[in-house]
């Protein structure tokens, strides 16, 4: 994730559609990239799976407050007026620095001290220590994207899950679990029209996710398959238009933590996989926090152009989720992106629906759903000395 204000348009797709007439020689199909019996892919898109709904429908009470506004709301009325007039980012930080939080008594300036990201006792590093007031979440049971993870029709509690409301898909798919969306969906930057762009991190090589799928057993187009996911060791290389080209050779990470092997089934061009825990490696200059997901399953459609497109659904431990989505923003990012850290943190705990502790009955994970796209790439294992020559082009 970037804590900057970069604005990228949502990908135009991998293929050149910029020219008015399709040139006769432009490639339109990406052939499979096979090594041995496995078809390889590299992920090109990974983001919150979200519907095309209006913010007003999802968040009738308004979008989430910024840290600034949350803080101001908690000030004595006399101070609120004065504080509201300060809007410039640096001044906000300094203003907060100079004032004591009325409830906790801590110098709020300490909240926003960005000592080596995690060294200072700032509000985003210690969300449990601070109160939130008016955090906004999505409360309806209407349209969203995701999968039915707990197997129930109504979200009632089970041995491993906690009671929660479900969504319905735009195409009518019932009983969708996506508690993470409830927690994040009223933060403007995380919605489709916000400015978060995780794909740029794929393009810069901060994270690479590789996938392998075997040919279906039995030889036909449908059948059982073996599926594996890996973090990649190498960044992708970009083509002349800064897209990821098909047919790259990418090595899997040496670290055994960053792989997940499971089984799946292809029917009518759709691949569904059995739940598996998966940790993705994430590395940029300052943040090295793996992304951890539990019991994820994929539902991916094989496209006519050779790419795959679909969704990943599963559970994310809230502490770990907060660590890899929110923490790397740093306090400046949180302030500028209007992420109310304590509010979000508390909301996620309230919304938690997975990994139930039998002793206490509380859940510590939220259901999640991510959109996934991937294109063919040759997935190289350390044991491949000289890569097997996979078939005809």
């Amino acid at each position: 994730m970037r804590r900057s204000m970069c604005i990228f348009t949502v990908g135009l797709g991998l293929l050149a559609t910029g020219a008015s007439a399709e040139p006769a020689n432009a490639p339109s199909v990406m052939p499979p990239a096979k090594v041995g019996r496995m078809h390889g892919y590299v992920m090109t898109h990974f983001y919150f799976a979200q519907p095309d709904t209006d913010p007003e429908t999802d968040c009738p009470g308004g979008m989430t407050m910024s840290l600034r506004d949350d803080f101001i709301a908690q000030l004595p009325p006399a101070d609120r007026e004065r504080a509201s007039q300060v809007t410039e980012l640096g001044k906000v930080a300094r203003m907060i620095l100079a004032t004591d939080h009325p409830k906790s008594g801590l110098k709020l300036g300490e909240w926003l001290t960005n000592k080596d990201m995690y060294g200072g006792h700032n509000v985003c590093d210690n969300p449990a220590d601070y109160e939130y007031t008016q955090y906004k979440t999505i409360e309806h049971a209407g349209t969203a994207k995701g999968l039915n993870l707990d197997g129930t029709a109504d979200g009632a509690a089970t041995a491993s899950t906690c009671a929660h409301k479900k969504f319905t898909g735009a195409d009518g798919t019932p009983a969708i679990d996506n508690q993470m969306w409830r927690g994040f969906g009223c933060i403007k930057v995380y919605r489709h029209d916000g400015n978060m762009d995780w794909d740029s991190n794929i393009r810069t090589g901060e994270w690479t996710v590789l996938m392998e799928v075997s040919d279906p057993k039995g030889g036909g187009p449908d059948g059982d398959v073996d599926v594996a996911f890996y973090s990649g060791k190498d960044p992708v290389t970009l083509d002349a238009n800064r897209h990821i080209p098909a047919g790259l050779s990418l090595s899997v990470s040496d670290d055994p933590r960053f792989r997940a092997v499971t089984r799946g089934h292809i029917a009518n061009g759709v691949l569904t996989t059995e739940p598996v825990d998966f940790t993705f490696k994430y590395d940029n200059q300052i943040v090295h926090v793996p992304w951890v997901f539990d019991a994820v399953r994929f539902r991916l459609a094989l496209q006519p152009d050779g790419s795959i497109k679909g969704m990943m659904g599963g559970y994310a431990d809230i502490e770990k989720l907060y660590n890899f989505v929110v923490m790397p923003q740093s306090i400046q990012g949180a302030v500028s992106n209007k992420i109310d850290c304590p509010g979000l943190y508390a909301a996620l705990h309230r919304l938690a629906d997975g990994e139930r502790d039998p002793a206490t009955g509380t859940c510590k994970a939220v259901s999640v759903a991510f959109d996934v796209e991937a294109i063919p790439a040759f997935v190289i294992h350390p044991s491949d000395k000289q890569a097997a020559l996979g078939g005809k082009p």
């Binding site: 050149a16 910029g18 020219a19 008015s20 040139p23 006769a24 020689n25």
Partner: protein, 445 residues
Amino acid sequence: MASAIARRTVLRGLCHGGRVALAVPLLDCLLSSNGTALADGRPLPVRFGTWFWGCGMNPERWTPKKTGPDYDLTPELQPIAPVRGKITLLSGFNVELDGKPNHVHWSGNIGLRTGAAPAQANQNDLPTLDVLIADAVGTDSRFRSLEVTATGNPRHSYSSRSTSVINPSEPSPLAFYTRLFGPDFQDPNGADFKPDPKVMLRRSVLSSVSDDRKRLLTEVGAADRARLDQYFTSVRQLEQQLDMQLQKPPPAEACRVPGKPADAPLGQEITQVVANHRLMTQLMIMALACNQTKVFNMVFTDSASSTTKAGTDKTHHTLTHEEAVDPAQGCQPQATWFEMQSIQAWAEFVAAMDAVMEGPGTLLDNCLVLAHSDTSFARIHSVVDLPIMLAGGAGGRVKPGLHVAGTGDVVSRVGLTLQQVMGVPVDRWGTGKMETRKPVGEILV
């Protein structure tokens, strides 16, 4: 030779009045009272240049109906409207192949520039007219001539003494800047001048190289003698450049050292060509204003125009051959689009030269620039009725803003005229059927 006029002294003295440019300060005080000469009596230098674009035009949409001043601006001449008063259009001049084959994208260009159709493709035995002009007028400036291209390829140059002595074009604006205004540049308007001892040392290094000439030439065969002699001529030119660096240069009123250009990508995609042409234009104009050279050659697109446009799979050249004529427009639309980019760039170049004040007028008024292409209608590689434009007043020696119809005469008349205007002592020019003694009198003052 140089009069050591301190700037401050001049400013304090009487000024004769005259226009002062907004963009560039003009020290009119340095001019004599009629404004056409320097205060020490020397006239303002007249510069010559060529500007080339590839793959021609569409004759029916190009040639104006009216001759003389106030000629009609046809569809393909629209871009020159803002500067048409300073541009003369010449039509109806041909290259006579004189029995030789029409070497595509070559015969027209070389025929115009050397006064003879070449016998072989990609070869020419005669010097191009800019070289002849530089030999006559370019010897007292730092560079005898300067060649640049907007295409990114140094081989795109049509300035040569012969096939083996082609002046390479500079493709990089940054490298061109460094060559002009880098460490060896002497600011003509600089207050202090001290000859650099290192330059004297360099000068002696070169004399030592030149001293080798006599002995070496006796050791090699006749053909090689000419090539090695050219080598020593090149050494001598650098010696002369260094000699100039050891003297204070005369002040140049319009000279203002430009900023260093960014390192931009080079290539033949049209946006790159246009961008690099703009950078080269700014640098070349200041090279002229700062008297670094009197002769220049600019290539916008090469003679077989391998220019492309992002997203289309055909080059300009390929389009001229393969694109169908649109009956409604009366031309090949995409090919003509590329042509119009060239004419637009030419108009911008002329306007940029006209924006620099010098003397009573502009830098353009003291220049004579020949713009032309290698062919008229590219699809058939026609070398008849070549598109030719002249910009500038040559220091008052030519009348700009006319349309002159050549009515099928040889194009060497144009080359002869240009050389005569620039002071080359020549009364006839061209070979065989292209030989002529008749300049284009209509443009002469």
